[in-house]
Structure formats: C-alpha cells, structure tokens
C-alpha cells in the first residue's frame, strides 16, 4: 500500500511539474518573441517561482486539482482493469490523460470560458497538458499495484 501511495505521489509530481513548467515556458517564449530579455537565469528563476506559487500561493493549488483528478481517474481505471484486457500502463495513461482533459475542459465552463491555467489557453496547450497526464498515468500503471502479480504488464 505504501509503495502504491509512493507511486501515486511520484506520478502526481510528474504531472504537476509538466503542467507548471508548460505555463512557465508559454509565458517566457512569448516574452522572448517580443524582445524581452529572457536568459537562462530568468528561465530558472521563473520555473522555481511558478513551481512554488502555482501550487501554494494561487487562488487554487494546481497540485490539488491534479491530485483530485488523478485520484478519481486512477480509481476508475482500477475498476475498469478488472474486466478490461488493456495493458495497465496504457489504461492508466488514458486515465491520466482523461483527468487532465477534464481539468482543462471543465475549468473554463465554471469561469465564463476563462482558462485560468495560462498554458491551457490554446488547443496545443491543452493537448500538451493531456499528454502530461498520460505520462503520469503511464508511470503509475507501469508499477505493480496492490493485488497484482509481480509481472509487469
């Protein structure tokens, strides 16, 4: 059980890191495109700031949203796995992608079509975040679950 929680937390960190740094990158790439002086120091500083502030100082903690999304998605995937023959890494990857898709699709519905995660304002940005969820899900599904045999699916 502890190992499973550990795996879940690592997948949560993976997804959160990818989501946050994508917003950072989106902002910095645009700033550089209009001639603002974006150097490596600015990049590292902005990434570090966003990793702290988006998770602990914003109006909503990104890590909390992703936690809830992945938790619901992975529990659902676990139930589906009982009768599904889809290999677990792929099943959980789909679940992780669905979790992030739900977050980026449902948040605007609650806030007048506003995308509160800046990196999710474009279709490409939303697609990237879904892929981030899939990577986190793949990681989770690639590790043995409680009740699994020792084989890696």
């Amino acid at each position: 059980m502890i190992k499973q929680i550990q795996t879940f937390l690592i997948s949560l960190i993976i997804a959160t890191f990818l989501v946050v740094t994508q917003t950072t990158a989106t902002n910095l790439i645009w700033l550089q495109s209009i001639g603002m002086p974006v150097d490596m120091q600015v990049v590292l500083s902005a990434m570090a700031t966003d990793l702290v502030d988006m998770n602990f100082r914003g109006a909503f903690p990104v890590i909390g949203l992703i936690f809830v999304g992945l938790l619901i998605a992975f529990i659902t995937a676990r139930i589906i796995a009982i009768w599904s023959s889809i290999k677990k890494p792929y099943l959980y990857a789909l679940a992780g992608g669905a979790a992030l898709l739900a977050i980026v699709a449902l948040m605007p519905l609650a806030f007048y079509n506003l995308d509160l995660i800046a990196g999710a304002r474009t279709v490409a940005g939303k697609a990237y975040l879904v892929v981030a969820g899939m990577i986190a899900g793949y990681y989770f599904g690639s590790h043995p679950q409680q009740g699994d045999s020792n084989e890696i699916h």
Binding site: T23, M36, T49, A118
Partner: protein, 375 residues
C-alpha cells in the same frame, strides 16, 4: 424590472452619518458627511450619468437602462436598449451623455453582445442613440471590438469625451487574449479614439503605421475600468491587474502601457505572468496596488460641496470595498485615503451637479448612495 421598495424610497431618509477625517495635514480638515440611499434593488448597477441637475440614468449590467428623477427610481426601464450578453463581466456597461445633450439628447452606451455571424463569440459594442422621453431611438453603432472573443470577461467598456469632442473607448484584454494587448492589429487591451459619427480621427497616433488599426490611441492595457479627463486634457485611466497589479496610469496617445510584458501582478493561478516590471519602451503606472483593490470606477472631483477635495481622484474599489481618494500634485499621486468602507463592494462613483458623491454598490441588490456634506 422588478422594483419592490418604492414606498421605502419615497421616504428615503438619511440613514447614517459620519465623519471622514482627511489625512491631509496641510488642510487639517475633518470632512463630516451624511449618506442617503437614493435607489435600491438595482440589478448589478454599473454606470451612472446625470442628464440634468436632478435626473440621472443608471445602467444595469443585466441589460436595463433606468432613470432616477428627483431621487426616485422610475420603475419602468427605458425602452429601446439593445439586447446585451449578460454573462460573467459582460452586459450593459457604460452610459455617457453627449457634451451637447441639452440640445441633441444623444447618449452613448457600451455593452457586450453576441457576434452576429458567430453567436458563440461576443464583442464589446458602443452605440449612440437619442433619448426621446423614455425611449431610445436612432441607434447608431460606433464601435465593435475585433476580433470577437469567446470569454465573457475584461471588456473595459468605459467611455469618455476628450475636449475636442472625440470619444475614448476602453477595450479590455478579454482575459484569455492578454498577449494581444501588445499587438496593434486588434482591440484587446486598447484605448481607441473615434469620432461621434464612428469615423476615425486623422490625428490618431497609429493612422500611418502599417498593420496597425488606426482607431488605437494607446495599448498594453488589461481591464480598464476607470477613465477620466482632467480640465487640462490629462487622461487618467485605471485598470484591474491580476493579483497585485492594479494600476493608475496617465495615458498619452501612442504609448505602450506594458501589459502583459511588464506587470507588478501575478496570475490568479499563482503563475508569473512576466518577471519584468519595466522596459524602456513601456510606461510605468503612476501608482499600483499590491494587494489588489479591484478598482471599478473613477472621477476627478470638481464639485463645490467638498472644496478641499477639488482636483482629487476618487476611485471606487470592489475589494474589500471602499473608495480611494488620491490627492494629485503635478500629475503625481501624493496622498491616498481610504473612505466609505461600510458599503461593501462599490462598483462606481460619480459626482452629482450639486457636488455630492454618488456611490454605486455592486450586486443583485445594488444601491445608489448619496454622500453629502453634513449640514
């Protein structure tokens, strides 16, 4: 429009009185005020303008234009107001009278409305119409923001006349489109200047720049909610920033006010919008607020009722809900005082012809509150 409290309004009394102590030591004036509810039950009131000494028009974001005469709210809304998109921050926004209203009865309205070709999108609109009795007639569209937007936020929607008779319109960044505030081929995050027939003045700053919209007057703004013109022509504007970045700006034609390339605020998600707060080609605000106050309206006080406040800017604020009095000297803010903290979110502030202040409270049960000098 439902109006249930007419009897109470008929006997609207001085509800409370109090003192506002000026912190201006040079004047050392204690300003004693009394407050009176002029109207209540307004559905998200947004803007107020006087059409005579004792008559005013009030917009409700939900889409009605109301008339208050001699301190009484007419229960029947003014007819002929266009359909608006009442969603999020959108709806019927500003009402402004023509400088020659006494002769031509013209008023100007700003509002959000669905795009006619793509109804899932919407635009900021500015129209001119003539007020005949209780009906608006002879509508003429003067401005539609372009491109249309998907979001129902950050419209700006303030209007003000320059001394030369041209009209300034604030057009917000639409929230999702903030980077567009730095491009001159769209209306996101701009102040535009137009003539009252909808044409574009030839002396606008970008008329000769390729790929720039000629109606743009200044750019790099976010959600511009306050706009006043001083007697010497100085244009003051304030805008909602993100968390910690509300700004008061002195606006000059052709200038770039930086959003979102430079800002003192961070995104609601906590994300850094920009690590930069200054750039040689971008203007600095006269003042910024951190934490935010959510500025919602602004006047330059010219009245006689509070002579020691003449020339001060008054800014209504939604968070936590108060009015900021800014004393200006040489076009700089030299003093800030917080007033009227007891009314909650204040959507707007106007000055009445007699010099009293009218506070507009926010929400479904919005009120007009008159602040007068205590007799």
């Amino acid at each position: 429009m439902k109006f249930t409290n007419l009897p109470m309004l008929c006997v609207s009394l001085v509800l409370c009185s109090g003192s506002v102590f000026s912190s201006d030591e040079s004047l050392a004036i204690e300003t004693e005020v009394e407050t009176e509810i002029l109207a209540e039950g307004l559905n998200h009131p947004w803007s107020v303008t006087f059409i005579s000494a004792d008559e005013m028009l009030v917009t409700e974001l939900s889409g009605d234009l109301r008339r208050v005469s001699n301190g009484r709210l007419n229960p029947r809304p003014i007819m002929g107001v266009p359909e608006v998109l009442f969603a999020g921050q959108g709806g019927l926004s500003e009402v402004l009278v023509d400088p020659n209203f006494a002769d031509n009865s013209l008023i100007y309205l700003s509002f959000s409305a669905p795009d006619t070709d793509k109804p899932k999108l919407n635009q900021l609109n500015v129209i001119q119409a003539r007020l005949e009795g209780n009906v608006l007639v002879d509508h003429k569209t003067l401005f539609q923001s372009d491109p249309p937007r998907r979001t129902a936020a950050h419209y700006g929607a303030r209007l003000a006349f320059l001394a030369d008779g041209t009209l300034l319109v604030t057009s917000g960044d639409g929230f999702n489109y903030r980077e567009q505030a730095q491009a001159l081929d769209n209306h996101f995050g701009k102040i535009v200047r137009i003539n009252t027939d909808g044409s574009i003045p030839e002396d606008n700053p970008f008329t000769n720049r390729p790929n720039a919209l000629p109606e743009i007057w200044s750019y790099g703004h976010r959600n511009l909610q306050g706009l006043v013109i001083a007697d010497d022509g100085t244009v003051y504007e304030h805008e909602h920033g993100p968390q910690g970045g509300d700004e008061l700006n002195l606006v000059l034609p052709g200038k770039n006010y930086g959003w979102p390339a430079i800002t003192y605020g961070v995104d609601y998600s906590g994300a850094m919008i920009s690590p930069f707060t200054e750039h040689p080609d971008m203007e600095q605000p006269l003042k910024y607020w951190d934490p935010s106050i959510a500025p919602s309206g602004m006047i330059l006080y010219r009245g006689d009722m509070f002579p020691h406040w003449q020339g001060n800017l008054f800014i209504s604020a939604l968070v936590p809900g108060d009015v900021r009095r800014l004393k200006m000297q040489d076009k700089q803010v030299v003093e800030e005082e917080t007033l009227f903290t007891e009314f909650g979110r204040i959507r707007n502030i106007v000055s009445a012809p007699d010099g009293s202040l009218i506070l507009v409270t926010d929400g479904e049960d919005g009120k007009l509150i008159r602040v007068s000098a205590k007799k």
